[in-house]
């Protein structure tokens, strides 16, 4: 696939389940990914397809009852699954950081924002030296505060001095997300996991946050794995797109290929259901049907029940990822080749 000689993160055959009363929710099934150092990868898919679960699994922060049942999470060649509690705590926030889906509920409401950022520095002993207990650590606290202020400045929080000691509810949503980005970056991590960092923000702020993340990627060579449900955002932001459906990767490849001529009917569907400016509402075609129940997945292609191209073979057995062109893998037995048929549209498939 993509060049693998400077791989930072490699996920091999990751499976995650949430055992519930209704049965095992197979949130992620046999997922493999490779992210090169400095790369930008997007996980794209509808709500509930397991995107957040992948990110949480990497840092072993799955919400109960979530459990990794299989796979390897190789970060710089070390399997994160095998680390002891103390070791994974050393990785979290220092080598791999995370930005969460909803900034408004992610900061702790009772601590000043600046102090929450500073805690990361303290936890990882970024300022070396003696660890004195609380009132005696004035010098160290001052040095740490300097770094925090610089980080707040860098992510575009105006007058960080004044904002250092105020509380999350006194920040706007966009500012809270910036603070969370500052928090994630303050220890200089190699990998940044961003879970829909812009979904809960309004459009102009969204663009600013994406620009900020792009700048971070370029200035610090921070590798970014971002989750989004918006293929447009993914296309703008990253170099590789992995499309997920029902816990599996259904298509993965370079961003422009995936967006311009996708091979999987699901990816195609995601593209046509994005509204464009100037387009009438009825031209936006949502994909019909619903995401399948993850406790009872069909034996064959999970998308087959909603797919206009599905044949009987699609429903008979598991569909492997197939290389359809250079660098592009598609989990489909009837891949669309719209290079051969450029006039191909979603409407036409519906008619077939």
């Amino acid at each position: 696939m993509i060049n693998t000689n400077n791989t930072l993160l490699e996920i091999r055959n990751l499976s995650v389940t949430y055992p519930t009363r209704r049965g095992e929710v197979k949130a992620v099934e046999n997922l493999s990914l490779t992210v090169p150092a400095g790369g930008r990868l997007c996980l794209v898919g509808e709500s509930g397809c397991g995107k957040s679960t992948v990110l949480h699994a990497i840092l072993r922060l799955l919400r109960p009852p979530g459990r990794i049942t299989n796979g390897e999470l190789l970060f710089r060649g070390r399997d994160l699954r095998k680390l002891r509690a103390k070791e994974i705590q050393g990785v979290r926030g220092k080598e791999i950081s995370m930005i969460f889906q909803d900034p408004l509920t992610t900061l702790n409401p009772v601590f000043p924002v600046g102090e929450q950022i500073r805690e990361s520095l303290r936890l990882h002993q970024i300022i070396p030296g003696l660890s004195l207990p609380w009132p005696l650590d004035i010098i160290r606290r001052k040095q740490e505060k300097e770094i925090v202020l610089k980080a707040m400045q860098e992510v575009g929080i105006p007058s960080p001095m004044d904002r250092y000691s105020i509380y999350p509810h006194q920040f706007s949503g966009g500012m809270q997300q910036r603070a969370l980005i500052a928090l994630a970056l303050v220890c200089g991590p190699a990998l940044l996991l961003a879970d829909e960092p812009t979904t809960s923000l309004d459009v102009t702020i969204q663009a600013q946050i994406l620009d900020l993340m792009l700048k971070i990627n370029q200035d610090h060579n921070t590798t970014i794995v971002m989750v989004t449900h918006d293929l447009g955002v993914a296309a703008e932001f990253c170099d590789t797109i992995a499309v997920m459906y029902a816990g599996r990767i259904v298509e993965i490849g370079p961003a422009e290929t995936i967006v311009i001529h996708p091979h999987h009917p699901y990816t195609r569907g995601l593209l046509t259901c994005r509204p464009h400016i100037g387009e009438k509402a009825q031209q936006v075609k949502p994909i019909e049907g619903n995401v399948p129940d993850l406790t009872h997945l069909p034996p064959g292609c999970a998308f087959a029940p909603r797919c206009p191209l599905a044949q009987t073979v699609c429903e008979q057995g598991p569909v492997p990822l197939i290389q359809v062109e250079k660098n592009v893998l598609t989990r489909c037995l009837q891949p669309v080749d719209n290079r051969r048929d450029p006039s191909w549209t979603w409407d036409q498939i519906v008619r077939i």
Binding site: L61, P109, L123, L180
Partner: protein, 336 residues
Amino acid sequence: MKATKILERVLAALPIMLGVAITVFLFMRLTPGDPVDIMMGRGGAVSEGEIEKLRSEFNLDKPLYTQLGIYLKDAIHGNLGYSYIQKYPVTTLIIERLPATIELAIAALIISLVIAFPIGIASAVWQNSLLDRLSMAGSFLGISMPSFWFGIILILLFGVQLHILPVQGRIDFDAHLSIKTGFYIWDSIITGNHVALISTIKHLILPGITLGAAEAAVIARVIRSSMLEILRSDYIVLARSKGASEWRVILKHALRNALIPTVTIIGLQVGVLLGGNMIVETVFSWPGLGRMVVSAIFARDFPLVQGAVMVYAFTFVMANLIVDILYTYLNPKITF
């Protein structure tokens, strides 16, 4: 919180106190039974003249509203009237008894917090574990068990059977404590009398546990349920994602938030402490306000009961004021 705001809140308590005073006054006067009969004792040969003299001395010959007016006017000057039975100013009697009650209440509060915090936190962290089930069953027992019964059980077990803890009074007679403030712990510390200190602490344990048990049970439940909710929240995942250890996440990030509802309930429980102390002080022969009120009620010593109820109401109002002040520190979203 600014001093002016605190003053404002204290002043806002005045109408409440006035309402309490009027209500208690009327209730006490409308209950059957003539105070003069009580003062004279039953069956005593007393002349009409003496009775009339007593009536006018205690203003009982005047109409009810005049009596109320006199009572309120005096109360403003800190004079809550004279006890019918003990023939002393009510204020003096209350001030004499108050330190014993406050000391016991503080001991009960400390004991309940020491029990409630570890249990509440541990049951939330290990939800549905054996420990959780046992402590929640225990706290159910603590809430539903009458405190006089619990007190008697403790007396039987630790006092009568095991002889390890005293079950009566505040201090041993041979401790020779010279009383300065009436707070025995404080008095024994400033006079350097460690025998008295140990004796006082020992005397506080059983009544403190009896009074604190129900309180501990309620607080533990509140801590548990708020911790359970908080441990599921996003900012806890954030704290973990920063690399904080699990204990740090629980004791710093989660507990600090759980304190907000916990402090509220502790403030409300002050009322329970005050109500409970009448029973506990009676069971343990504790020379405090509660026991005095109980005997005053039986003796229809109206001024004394009235005075004590005013003190209770005042304490309750103040406790809630303290909670509100603490709140502004605990919850940054609330500013006065």
